[in-house]
């Protein structure tokens, strides 16, 4: 829940920064000033929004699984599963063959 809120907040901040930039650039165009560089507060807000949203994405996704499998939970019906002992070449095929 927290991560969702954080992501929405980050996205909104990002959108707000984009809107501010557009306004700022329009102002520069009106005032016929040199169009290069952004005010530091917009830059900081954009970067902060990026960090917040990235953190939210990272924490929102499922946690990593341990690849060593020692503390993994095995499903009850998979306890006895031994794939390399599967055998399809057994007598059953002959026993149940259609005459």
């Amino acid at each position: 829940m927290l991560t969702r809120v954080a992501f929405v907040l980050g996205a909104l901040l990002l959108f707000n920064a984009a809107y501010s930039t557009v306004q700022y650039r329009n102002f520069l165009k009106m005032a016929e000033k040199d169009q290069s560089g952004l005010p530091i507060d917009i830059v900081l807000q954009t970067l902060a929004a990026m960090v917040l949203a990235t953190w939210a994405i990272v924490e929102y996704t499922a946690p990593f699984k341990n690849i060593h499998g020692s503390n993994e939970r095995v499903r009850y019906d998979a306890v006895d599963n031994r794939p390399i002992f599967y055998s399809f070449q057994h007598r059953g095929a002959l026993l149940f063959k259609k005459q």
Binding site: S36, Y86, Q89, L94
Partner: protein, 268 residues
């Protein structure tokens, strides 16, 4: 490069009616394609796939026997080996499992129905792509759509600024066609986010699926050759029973009480 040297003013309706629609169309097209492919996919396991699984499983068993056979008693090992490589017995069912003839794989290029299937599959990806490209070329050509934030060489001008005959214009101002190309590659990532891994939204994924088919052996490989190799490996495998002297080894490592027991046994 001076980014703000020539501030070119573009009409904002280009943004609203060209830039945004193209991305949305590309994104939705991938989703529609994914769902159509899901609908058309037949999930019936056919006989061929079952046979392939059987062959693969048998090979795996032979390999495991070769790797871990030393823990079997000599008799058990011999019986399993015979099951795989027994030569005699005129009846095919009594022959070793690896000795039996497998049907030769059909040449995929020779089978017209399979060719047709592949062609159809390709068509379903190529035709929408061509339609969209035609749509973009027809409606959105002849004007600058946006500017890419990275410099492009002059060579790209011909392709990406088609219809705009301005030789002095910087190459990073591009028409809608290049925006389309960017969208084609970019929405792939978005599709993975929305539809999950291995979706049918884009072509490259589909190609991989056709080539790989996961665990089952590739249908174009001649199983007879694979079986022959495995048979030879199994014949070369020398069985050394790892547990031959296991009782003695156990007694050797046992504690004092065990040695006293053996000495008592010797006294008798």
């Amino acid at each position: 490069m001076a980014p703000a040297a020539i501030p070119l003013l573009l009409d904002t309706s280009i943004r609203d009616w060209v830039l945004i629609p193209i991305v949305i169309v590309m994104f939705l097209l991938g989703i529609v394609r994914h769902h159509i492919t899901e609908l058309l996919k037949s999930d019936r396991i056919d006989d061929k796939a079952a046979k392939a699984a059987l062959d693969g499983q048998g090979l795996l068993r032979a390999r495991v026997l070769r790797a871990n056979g030393r823990f079997l008693s000599p008799l058990a090992f011999q019986m399993r080996k015979n099951f795989f490589t027994q030569a005699d017995g005129g009846d095919d069912s009594k022959k070793g499992w690896l000795m039996q003839e497998r049907p030769k794989p059909a040449n995929p290029m020779g089978d017209p129905s399979q060719m047709m299937g592949m062609l159809k599959n390709n068509m379903s990806f190529v035709i929408p792509q061509m339609l969209i490209m035609g749509w973009i070329n027809y409606f959105f050509s002849g004007f600058i759509a946006t500017r890419v934030p990275f410099p492009l060489t002059v060579r790209f001008k011909m392709m990406l600024q088609r219809g705009i005959e301005l030789p002095t214009l910087d190459a990073s101002w591009v028409s809608s066609l290049s925006w389309y190309f960017l969208a084609v590659f970019g929405v792939r990532g978005l599709h993975t986010l929305v539809l999950g891994e291995g979706n049918a939204a884009d072509q490259s994924m589909n190609m991989q699926q056709m080539a790989g088919m996961g665990m089952t052996p590739n249908p174009t490989v001649d199983m007879n050759q694979v079986f022959k190799a495995e048979r030879e490996n199994l014949d070369l495998c020398v069985h050394e029973y790892a547990l031959a002297n296991i009782e003695r080894a156990l007694l050797d490592t046992a504690s004092v009480s065990a040695t006293s027991t053996t000495s008592k046994l010797k006294q008798h």
